[in-house]
């Protein structure tokens, strides 16, 4: 018998049907378990408030009402639409700032040679290990002295200064995969470092820039702590701060409105994942990113 060939006449054995049922059943149960809180929240936003904590565990409301959506949107001093617009503006600006600044810094670290490069790169990565709470107070003092407290500036301007080491690292990994010969060919063709970045590297970096933009948008959209610290004027509130106004520690909380607006606040994030999931996967796969 040739050692490279098998004499076995058996094909691949098929799995028993019952095993498939059990596996799928377990996966469906786990999925339901994970999605149940969302379903419960949707149900809570469509049922009368007194029914939410009335002892029922059913996710089917006894009576469907959209009052929570109406009251949530228009019930505060400032319309919830304003909070959505604020969050959108901050998130978009932050994404632009992160992408522009992080990509420029990443280009320097990935493609340029300068004295102390490895030291500064390690230092930059070291900031990833700093908890936000450690830098919070010094940053607050800085912004207060600049007169930026109670504005969006502390939330947006730092993004244009490449403060987010995670995105820099993400983009560095991508840039390092681009062949060095492309830079060299551009160099011979007369491109400056800026020209190589702008004309060659950036146009080839669609996936990673899209990934950085998407994650930047989502994380900024979901950020509660930053706006809480720096914004006190309700007209400047983000969606997350707006949601917190429904929860009152001293009196009663408006749970229906909270659930309703929470559901709506998920819509942009859901849409981004829906339309950009392929870009996200491509970007993550290309960079080996894992959070």
């Amino acid at each position: 018998m040739n050692r490279w060939r098998s004499n076995s006449a058996e094909g691949i054995r098929e799995r028993p049907f019952w095993r498939s049922i059990v596996t799928h059943g377990a996966l469906i149960a786990a999925s339901l378990g994970m999605v149940y809180p969302i379903l419960w929240m949707i149900a809570g936003s469509l049922r009368p408030q007194e029914e939410i904590f009335g002892g029922t565990t059913s996710i089917i409301p006894s009576q469907v009402t959209i009052e929570a959506y109406r009251d949530g949107w228009f019930g505060l001093q400032v319309s919830f639409g304003r909070f959505f617009a604020n969050s959108l503006a901050i998130s978009v600006l932050s994404s632009i700032g992160n992408v522009v600044a992080a990509s420029a810094v990443a280009f320097a670290f990935a493609k340029l040679k300068f004295f102390g490069r490895d030291f500064w790169f390690a230092l930059m990565l070291g900031t990833l290990m700093l908890p936000y709470e450690v830098t919070l107070i010094p940053q607050y003092v800085l912004f207060q002295r600049l007169g930026w407290v109670n504005t969006w500036l502390p939330l947006v301007v730092p993004k244009f200064l490449a403060v987010d080491a995670f995105f820099i690292f993400l983009i560095v990994q991508f840039f390092r995969q681009l062949p060095r010969e492309l830079d060299e060919a551009a160099q011979i063709d007369g491109c400056s470092a800026w020209g190589i970045y702008w004309r060659i590297i950036l146009p080839l970096s669609g996936p990673v820039l899209a990934t950085a933009a998407i994650f930047s948008f989502i994380w900024t959209w979901e950020d509660f702590f930053g706006p809480l610290i720096y914004v006190s004027d309700m007209k400047l509130y983000t969606v997350q701060l707006g949601l917190s106004t429904f929860v009152d520690s001293s009196g009663t909380s408006s749970w229906s409105e909270l659930f309703a607006m929470s559901i709506l606040s998920l819509v942009p994030v859901f849409l981004i994942f829906l339309f950009f999931q392929r870009t996200l996967i491509e970007g993550i796969a290309t960079t080996g990113m894992k959070r």
Binding site: P179, E181, E184, A185, A186, Q187, I188, D189, G190, P203
Partner: protein, 360 residues
Amino acid sequence: MSTSVELHGIVKRFGAHEVIRGVDLSIEPGAFTVFVGPSGCGKSTLLRMIAGLEPISDGDLIIDGERMNDVAPSRRSIAMVFQSYALYPHLTVYRNLAFGLEMAGYKRPEIDLRVQRVASALRIDSLLKRRPKALSGGQRQRVAIGRAIVRDPKIFLLDEPLSNLDAELRVQMRVEISKLHQELGNTMIYVTHDQVEAMTMASKIVVLRDGNVVQVGTPLELYNRPRDIFVAGFIGSPRMNLVPVRFTPGADGFRFAGETVRFESPLSEVEREAPLSLGVRPEHIMIGGEAGQPLCQARVHLVEHLGGATVIYATAPDGNNLTIATPGQSDVHQGDLVPLRVHPALCHLFRENGTALPGI
């Protein structure tokens, strides 16, 4: 437009490690010079230093009488064809060809004229709207060459441009590059690890090893008179046979596997005493007949029929392996005992330190 290139004492260090160790070289205007050597010998590093992509640690690079060590690559009037072609993936073929001219500030009509002319000459005019990923390997190669030509440089630098092509395309492109050189007449410096490419294309070959230039010469000079055992073994395919021999005073020749090979040129007493290596190319070993001198009786253990030639692998009685290349189709079979003969004039002797004995 032809340009001379001179390298005086060129050294390249990466940290404490020296990869190019004092190279002195003169490349005449219009010459097709090939840097050849095994992987890691420094040929690509040397090319990159000429291009300005690697800083020179020590020594001087002179192009047309001007010192170029600190001059930016774009101002050396060079064009480079990379091993991976390095075409800009996001640009069309037209834009790839035009890119260098745009950076140099040429006006659109001039750019268009040059691009169309080069595209037509290289037969890529139907591909101008395509992107590199829609091109075959050979087409990408032409675009890479076209991108170099369109800038009308003084010097062409080619870094193993054919290594990513299949064998048939490689032969075809070798001929095209040689024709291009004849038409343009520019100075070309070509890097390859393939000695066949070096032999067929070069007007001058520079053999490198471990950062040193071992020998410089025309292809036939290196083939007929290798100055070093490394060059002897590197140039020529199949590789030269190299066997240890000792001078036999009584027979006034070199003893090898039961036979004595006599050379006409006299040897000094020192050389007679020292262990030497006898080099003979496979194509210079004859099977049977009366020409030349007997070398040994060898047992055949493998025969390769190439159609136009036959390569025979045999073992001498002392255990040394020999390769014989005969023209045409041989009727030698595995297991045969064949009498081998050589012309001493076509043999080479090398000292223990690898240097060739001159005039043998």
